[in-house]
């Protein structure tokens, strides 16, 4: 169970003064103990994530060499190549879109900026597989676009196939760029204009100032956003399955559903995880030791774009908004109108409530844990996310959803059989699952999966804060509690909101863990989408999918309004 880590600091602090008055030796010991204490949140998060990973790693105890041999002989090379292409494609497109859009809306002024500012975040609310299916429906050979083109240019007209690395990259980027956009937007906004102005006074052009000042300062945020986008790309199965584009996850699912060999699938998944761990490690090394802090922006005067530039900026933002949001949602709306509201029964209220309740509880829990971890790291003097525990805690997101879900389910089932079953047997009660199939297990599963999504924005906001704030607060007599409540939380609020929002939306879209671990009767909108889409009935899935999008919109809009103040 997640210990509320905030319970104990007060004890610690009340002990502290008396310890100070005593001998140096006691003081040193207590300092050492405190140091360990601040590690607790990170270790707890790591343990939570490592539990299912350990279950998955146990798969290596069985020998699956024939499946490995088969995969290596037939397709592993292609799969790795495809995955690499996709990562490069999604990484570069998502970073380009995310950073350029964030820069425009947070630093410049142009017509329509105010609503594009939040509008550009909305694609996040649409599940990837939905965008994938809409894109495929529209742009494949039998879709309306190519059909129309063939009518105009003759039946021999051929467009490059959307079912290719390029097509899949574009589609995934359209859904995943908001991660980069959101995080770099809040970074750019808190930078203010001061340093960019200084650079310009020293003779840099606006572009140079952006490259040499604003961009490097936003790098932790951009990196955090890109890491999320790439981890999601690596773990994605839904969208690539719609395109029948084979990636490394394809091999994982093939081993499980084709060969009925979960251990082999788990082995493959842990290899994938190893790559992700190495990539995260490399990213942190590459960031280097130098740190850049900034003061919160005092005043923000935007660059007012004029004439053609202003229209260009509006046009660019609008284009992305239309492609990534208006078209998919429009298609869903079209389907809903086409199929009618027949599926809208009284159970829908339950579906919406369950979806939102699970999302809200999981988001608050995950973000609280993330704050505790980030704050703990700060107290240890670690400015960036360092150390084994921190890295381990961020791995949950990189697993293909189904494999992680099974890992979580197996570990909870283990807890059930080792801890709960003997107690029940002792009390002469019939054997029954307590954890598996309970809301608690489901929420914990969400925490495991989305911890890093919550941590990313919070950590990157922390990283931009100077340690001198803490020093100032402490020199004015604030204890750790007051420091957290009155100094850090208010200053971190954009990051916290971003984290809450991301986790909330991700949980509401989440499918494999929800399917496997939900209690009886706890169907969510994502479950309903699955019911329809798994047999290819996309038109009928439009209603729950659209409800899901609408449900995600409310918190997105709300939080953006907050963060604007």
């Amino acid at each position: 169970m997640p210990q509320p880590p905030s319970d104990q600091p007060s004890n610690d602090d009340s002990n502290q003064p008396s310890a100070n008055k005593e001998s140096f030796f006691v003081n040193a010991q207590s300092t050492k103990w405190r140091k360990h204490f601040w590690r607790l949140p990170a270790w707890f998060a790591a343990a939570l994530v490592l539990m299912p990973i350990l279950v998955i790693a146990l798969s290596w105890t069985s020998d699956q060499s024939d499946i490995w041999a088969h995969l290596i002989q037939t397709q592993l090379g292609t799969l790795l190549g495809n995955t690499l292409k996709l990562c490069i494609g999604v990484g570069s497109i998502a970073i380009f879109l995310g950073v350029s859009l964030a820069w425009l809306v947070s630093v410049c002024e142009f017509p329509g900026r105010r609503w594009l500012d939040w509008g550009l975040m909305l694609p996040l609310a649409i599940p990837t597989y939905v965008v994938a299916f809409v894109a495929l429906g529209l742009f494949d050979f039998s879709g309306p676009v190519q059909t129309q083109l063939r009518e105009w240019f003759g039946s021999d007209f051929r467009m490059p196939s959307i079912r290719s690395a390029g097509g899949v990259s574009l589609v995934l980027s359209a859904v995943l760029y908001p991660y980069v956009y959101m995080l770099s937007r809040s970074a750019f906004m808190s930078q203010g204009r001061g340093l960019v102005d200084a650079a310009r006074m020293l003779g840099r052009t606006p572009l140079q100032a952006f490259w040499s000042v604003a961009l490097p300062m936003a790098r932790p945020a951009i990196a955090a956003g890109a890491a999320l986008a790439l981890m999601e790309t690596l773990a994605d199965f839904g969208a690539v399955a719609v395109f029948n584009y084979d990636t490394f996850t394809t091999a994982i699912y093939k081993s499980w559903f084709g060969f009925f060999n979960l251990p082999a699938a788990a082995q493959l998944a842990s290899v994938l995880l190893l790559f992700v761990a190495l990539a995260l490690f490399a990213e942190q090394k590459a960031r280097g030791g130098g740190r850049l802090f900034e003061v919160p922006a005092q005043e923000r005067e935007r660059f007012k774009l004029k004439g053609a530039r202003a229209y260009l900026a509006t046009g660019y933002c609008l284009l992305i908004f239309v492609l990534a949001f208006v078209i998919p949602v429009g298609q869903l709306l079209f389907w809903v109108v086409e199929t009618g509201l027949g599926g809208l029964d009284q159970r829908y209220i339950d579906l919406v409530l369950h979806t939102f309740a699970l999302g809200a509880i999981a988001a608050s829990l995950t973000v609280s844990l993330a704050i505790a971890v980030a704050f703990g790291q700060r107290q240890l003097g670690n400015i960036s996310a360092k150390g084994f525990a921190m890295r381990a805690a961020s791995l949950g997101y990189a697993f293909p959803g189904s494999v992680l879900a099974v890992g979580i389910m197996l570990s909870f089932a283990k807890v059930d059989s080792v801890l709960v079953a003997p107690v029940r047997a002792l009390l002469d009660m019939p054997p029954k699952q307590i954890l598996v199939g309970s809301v608690v297990a489901l929420i914990l599963a969400y925490c495991v999966r989305f911890f890093t999504v919550g941590l990313g924005p919070i950590q990157s906001s922390f990283e931009r804060l100077k340690p001198s704030f803490q020093e100032a607060a402490q020199s004015l007599g604030a204890n750790k509690w007051q420091l957290l409540w009155r100094v850090y939380l208010p200053m971190l609020s954009p990051g916290i909101f971003a984290g809450m929002l991301l986790v909330l939306v991700d949980v509401m879209k989440e499918m494999p863990a929800t399917l496997l671990l939900r209690p009886f009767g706890w169907d969510t909108l994502a479950v309903r989408v699955y019911e329809m889409t798994s047999e290819g009935e996309w038109e009928r899935a439009a209603l729950p999918a659209l409800s899901l999008v609408l449900l995600s919109l409310a918190p997105v809009v709300l939080m953006i309004r907050r963060s604007r103040r």
Binding site: S142, A405, G437, G536
Partner: protein, 367 residues
């Protein structure tokens, strides 16, 4: 209120059941029984019976990879007929099997329902089912559509057949699945991905009847004839045929039924292949009682009911499938597609040979 009355009607048998299952939880004993205005003795007797009934009201729990909208109407009908509630969770077959085996004897599930004989065979192979001796199931489910060890029983048949463009293909040009691998189909064939279990089962039964080498040659021929990369679902493949990207594909008939319903003008038609030899490839959806079922007797009744003529028509019709029970006719729409000779090879072969089929398709470059 309605539910309570329903239960009251069945109270005597349920009470017996409750005793038989050796109920030991005493939680709800103090629950007041339903008010009545009969004589004191009758009230007392009834109250006792009802107390028993609420205590152990049988609820059959089903883990299902058959989708909710295909099973819910039937379960509701069953509840209306018998007063026995059916609750279920749906997920993919693989995760549900993992869940069943991880939960072991503490599982709440009484029945596991899934599509594809391969999945059923796997579940049986993992020891998740309890074997069932049931005269009515033996009578209603043909032998080649159930497990030899009576672990599971087919409940509906799904035929996987050829769909062709009526604009560019004459039915005389078609004959068998194998013929689609011939040279004259170069660049004219569309297929769904080999990752879908339906194609895996098709190839697995081909291995069973023709042997590995011959099957691999055929699959290679298909791949060589592809007009475009395989599609992620049957509907997309049919749409490609209709749009002129290719001339024929292999799909489950109910997808054709759905497409036809949505777009009656579509220039596609079904063709029943291999009528001179083994027949059309068929697969099933089916179910079995779990090994650690808490309500095995109730689950058995439900399964028998699902295979009976009371439920079979609706079970199949709801998804344009064919009933397993030969006394029940498919829906008018499905009948209009004509009769065909089905492959009588036991569908268990699909399960046994599935891994071989996947490997074979990987080797042949069928994605």
């Amino acid at each position: 209120m309605k539910a309570i009355q329903m239960k009251a009607k069945w109270a005597p048998s349920l009470a017996l059941m409750a005793l038989a299952v050796a109920g030991c939880s005493q939680k709800e004993e103090s629950k007041p029984a339903v008010e009545t205005t009969e004589t004191a003795a009758a009230v007392a007797e009834k109250a006792e019976v009802k107390a028993e009934a609420t205590k152990e009201a049988p609820v059959v729990t089903v883990y299902s990879s058959r989708k909710e909208h295909l099973i819910k109407p039937l379960f509701e009908k069953y509840t209306a007929e018998t007063g026995v509630d059916v609750r279920y969770v749906t997920d993919k077959a693989g995760p549900l099997m993992e869940r069943l085996s991880a939960e072991g004897e503490s599982t709440p599930a009484d029945m596991f329902m899934t599509v594809d004989a391969g999945n059923l065979w796997q579940a049986s192979n993992k020891g998740l089912f309890a074997s069932l001796d049931s005269e009515s199931l033996e009578a209603n489910v043909p032998a080649h559509l159930q497990a030899a060890n009576n672990d599971w029983f087919g409940l509906s048949i799904r035929a996987r057949t050829i769909v062709y463009s009526t604009e560019r293909v004459k039915p005389e040009d078609l004959s068998t699945y194998e013929a689609l691998a011939a040279e004259d189909w170069k660049g004219r064939l569309c297929l769904r991905t080999s990752k879908k279990v339906y194609n895996q089962s098709l190839v697995a039964t081909m291995i069973q009847t023709q042997g590995k080498e011959k099957t691999e040659e055929i699959v290679k021929g298909w791949v060589a004839n592809l007009a475009t990369e395989p599609f992620s679902n049957d509907t997309k493949a049919m749409e490609a045929v209709a749009a002129g990207q290719c001339d024929a594909t292999i799909v489950n008939t109910y997808y054709f039924g759905r497409l036809k319903k949505k777009n009656p003008e579509v220039t596609l038609a079904l063709y029943w292949p291999n009528q001179e030899d083994r027949g059309v490839h068929v697969n099933i959806s089916g179910a079995g009682i779990t090994k650690h079922a808490k309500q095995p007797a109730e689950a058995r009744k439900l399964l028998e009911w699902l295979a009976s003529d009371k439920a079979q028509g609706q079970f199949a019709e709801i998804n344009h499938e064919y009933p397993v029970n030969v006394t029940v006719k498919p829906s008018a729409e499905v009948q209009a597609w004509g009769n065909f000779k089905a492959d009588l090879v036991n569908v268990e072969a699909a399960g046994k040979l599935q891994a071989d089929a996947v490997k074979l398709m990987d080797r042949a470059g069928y994605r």
